[in-house]
Symmetry: D3
Subunit: 68 residues, 6 copies
């Protein structure tokens, strides 16, 4: 199965912070870069995401802004 998202960044979860509805997950994608994701708390629990989990961060191209 493949996903249309052009940006698929593999990494390891370095931090998970849980709120009431949402949770914030930080992913080390290598090269000195980190990706921070805010997803529903429910999805974190369904996927069993915790510190150390191997995950892929997905970003649709239309969600990326550029600074130049």
């Amino acid at each position: 199965m493949s996903i249309s998202a052009r940006n698929q960044l593999k990494g390891k979860v370095t931090n998970v912070k849980k709120g009431v509805i949402t949770a914030e997950v930080v992913v080390d994608i290598g090269g000195g870069n980190h990706i921070t994701s805010i997803v529903s708390l429910e999805s974190i629990e369904d996927l069993g995401i915790k510190e150390g989990s191997e995950v892929t961060a997905l970003v649709k191209s239309t969600s990326v802004l550029l600074l130049a």
Copy 2:
């Protein structure tokens, strides 16, 4: 000036493809990772973005999905 976006990935533009309304820009962010962005054609022209430009790709945390 600072921007609220948690994800700010610096890199060099490796490809620009122009459509009628939008344009697709590929940015090499190092560590073997690339970010693809679809922005308005007008913004590419205003910012003078072309192959070789140094840019920062910005992604709001709420726009990131996770695959685990």
Copy 3:
């Protein structure tokens, strides 16, 4: 592999319209409902999506507005 997106709607592609940068894909998800997606043209080609393809439409919860 599981995806954090809370909305995963399975269906069959009923129409694909291609632009220069983006493409529009219509998916019949049953119950009389259709989902229209605009993704990059490149992703349609990579995934081999065409009329009749079985696909899953993914929508992050934070991308859904409500009308009441």
Copy 4:
């Protein structure tokens, strides 16, 4: 009045969970499908959305990813 969003899915609210800033609303859209939406808590209160409310879930085409 009409809205540009290509995806307008009518349904009935089956669950509302309130956080501090956001709230999560689950909508049964028929055909065995549900849509989960995260909106501001304030909007839930303004629109009077609660279990049993008839609502329409709106999703812009550019917010839909595809899995194939």
Copy 5:
């Protein structure tokens, strides 16, 4: 009928540019401010949006970044 989007900016369309899949619409919202929207070409045609049309631009709070 009310919409959950916290940002509802009324104005008059000052420009419409049509592409193959998407269209770009500029709306004068007063106070010297303009809003540019990229929507599907199909939605522009369905809603009959053209120069001079009175429209409301809708933006979900989670789609707004801040620069400070």
Copy 6:
């Protein structure tokens, strides 16, 4: 430095409400219009945003829906 976002609305913060993961910021952009933004709590703290701060609200064109 310039940003690709077509919508850059300058204003003054009139309210900040903090949750666990996210925060809601209201910005008066003049002409009787206000913009509400939900960003990560962390970004509010990093940027030192509080009531009275001068900020610019950024919205990508693809995040704007139209009502006509």
